[in-house]
Symmetry: C4
């Protein structure tokens, strides 16, 4: 994809965030790696702009040190985090950040989302990990994301007291992970509430079954030649 | 209905899934039995396609052994389950599968949804049963659905750690059951949460009243000549 | 209003039910008293028709014994209840029935919704009462609604294990009460959940303050000459 | 902004209230200070009008003693509260009032919303304070808002058994605070529910980190020259 097409795609994906209930007001952002050039770069949401006011042209181009290359707008205040992830995880082509409510409630408990649903085994291959607390502004958040997600099946991490980051080979796949992690966070939350209110318990999944489900979903699900989960 | 009309109807019904909050991203699917031919067949959602990208023409035609008859697209990864149900339950003309969140929370507790509401007695004639755990890929899920729903009043089953299957004489009626099971799962969940938080209790329904409500709803409710609950 | 205008208004009000999240599929209905004729009559939703398929012309005209006067469609299965209320409460001009989820969760606990919010004191003048269990089909539900709401401040009642009925001098005002009772049922539910989870407690309102709030809202709020809360 | 532009803006902002799920039926209102004239004045929502029926011209102009200056419509029944706040807090240019459900559930517990999320530290700089109970009609509510919010970081207050007031230098910024306080109230609620149901606990934020986050968000976030969070 050339820059113009990538800007259009990135704008379209941003509109999925409010549509799927993942963001409030100006929070949340998506970036796309721009592969050309010596060191590459990325396109990312401008800071503090509402989703209604976003445009393809307004997406901010930066290098992977988070320096603005070509824009009058300031980039997302999470730009340093995105840049750090792209520098350290070459397979990542897109990143999504949200404070989606159910996933953030798990993050506020500093607790992995346990893998108790087949849909969760499919998409995440196990629990969604919770990383430690890190302050915004420098490289701490990016470093925590990279530390936890490196060689991890899950494309999603929740960060203590903060929110969600998801990664993918493309921004569309990172978005899918952001949508699914909130869906899973909500249903698992409801399952624990129900167990507590009724004196019941949440059924666990056999780790061998989680492996089988993850393997099948990764290798069989979807269309061979089209963009899965576009 | 001929094939073309059935494809249009099946497409229309699929759009009701996101509209009613039953699905996330590409999850969930509906199939329709195609009555003609020696052994018959079915139309079903293609795998991993978003609801926005679905078309009537994209619905995949398979036989009742889940073999694709006429499509460049792969069918839903739940196709073997749908096929098994059609083979063993000749009265079934449509099947819906979702991971709708409240019903799935009950499934994660491996627990029937108790019948405590008149609307639930109307539609399901008693508790919504929870079947055992079964892995996707072979006939285990279909076998569990058939085992539990045969001669059962409920057109809906929840499957342990997984989600919902509903059946009906038509796909439209299976869809209605999928919508109603989530509605009931949510209100019954809220009723138990409320009882737990207030030190109260959920009132039970007399089984004789459940029978009366189910009988009346089945035989009196709706229009005699039009498609009820279209 | 003549019949045609009343049909148009009744159709418009029905569309507010799904828009405000009060109904699922074909459930829920509104009626309007038709004042002319010897004994009067009412217009009501046809049975088992989805909200999308409703039309002004499809509203069913019955007398106050629930006998269809002029329609090929069967009226709502709750018609006998509406008719009973109109016969026994001459000040009532409109009735709404729903299974809205939070109010129905209180009904499933067979429990009045306690008055702990100023907005609730405004609209309902105290707790929303919960009536006893009654089977559909005869006059039992109507009799219970009339018994409880006669000389009661609240225009809303919840019925054990069932759902909500609201009354008003016009269908629009009964609809407002149906919308507000669900809003109140939800916030009060959340307040009790929060208290239970945090070891806190829900603050009570002084009955004298409830009286002052109800009096002010009834006599001062809104526009003198326009249709308040249309 | 002249009066006409302010009316248009105020109308546009009102439509964000139902869109963001903060209001039900006719509840909730926004006002804008009108800076010209000797003592100034304000524009505010008319009382008891639905959001669909609002128009720019229908906004009611009053002085800061809450006397109507130019309108056939009665102003919001909360007008005296708004006027009191404008008189005592000269830096306030806009005020929003809602009964948004999660924030109101905290208010019904007479409890500050504890600051446990980075997004909350950003926007509110600490807990959202809960003020005491006050009756509508006179100056009690306004006095409580002014007492609590004077020299407080938070632009939002919840009032015991009642709801939310937010203030800002412009109505748009007060609206942003109203949207964010409900978002935060919900996620913090969910975090406590989750801890209670799982035997876990909600992680606290270090007060020094709250200060750093608040400082950064106030001074770095958003665009320097554009309207942030419009």
């Amino acid at each position: 994809m050339n820059h113009a097409a990538l800007r259009t795609e990135l704008h379209r994906l941003h509109l999925e965030l409010p549509k799927n209930g993942l963001v409030t007001w100006t929070s949340g952002n998506i970036s796309a790696r721009v592969p050309d050039g010596d060191t590459g770069g990325m396109l990312i949401k401008p800071s503090g702009v509402t989703f209604e006011d976003l445009t393809p042209e307004g997406m901010v181009l930066t290098d992977l040190e988070a320096r603005v290359l070509d824009s009058d707008l300031s980039p997302s205040s999470d730009t340093a985090t995105h840049a750090y992830i792209y520098r350290h995880m070459p397979q990542v082509g897109g990143i999504v950040h949200t404070h989606s409510p159910y996933a953030t409630a798990w993050a506020a408990n500093a607790r992995d989302i346990p893998c108790i649903l087949t849909a969760q085994a499919d998409e995440f291959g196990g629990p969604v990990p919770c990383g430690g607390f890190a302050l915004i502004g420098g490289e701490e958040i990016g470093a925590e994301v990279v530390r936890v997600l490196t060689n991890h099946r899950s494309p999603a991490i929740i960060l203590k007291s903060h929110g969600v980051f998801t990664i993918g080979p493309t921004p569309a796949k990172a978005l899918k992970a952001a949508v699914m992690v909130e869906d899973v966070a909500r249903t698992v939350f409801l399952a624990y509430q129900l167990a507590a209110a009724t004196g019941g318990s949440v059924a666990t999944l056999d780790p061998a079954d989680i492996d089988k489900l993850y393997d099948r979903y990764t290798n069989v699900y979807g269309q061979r030649t089209s963009e899965v989960g576009k």
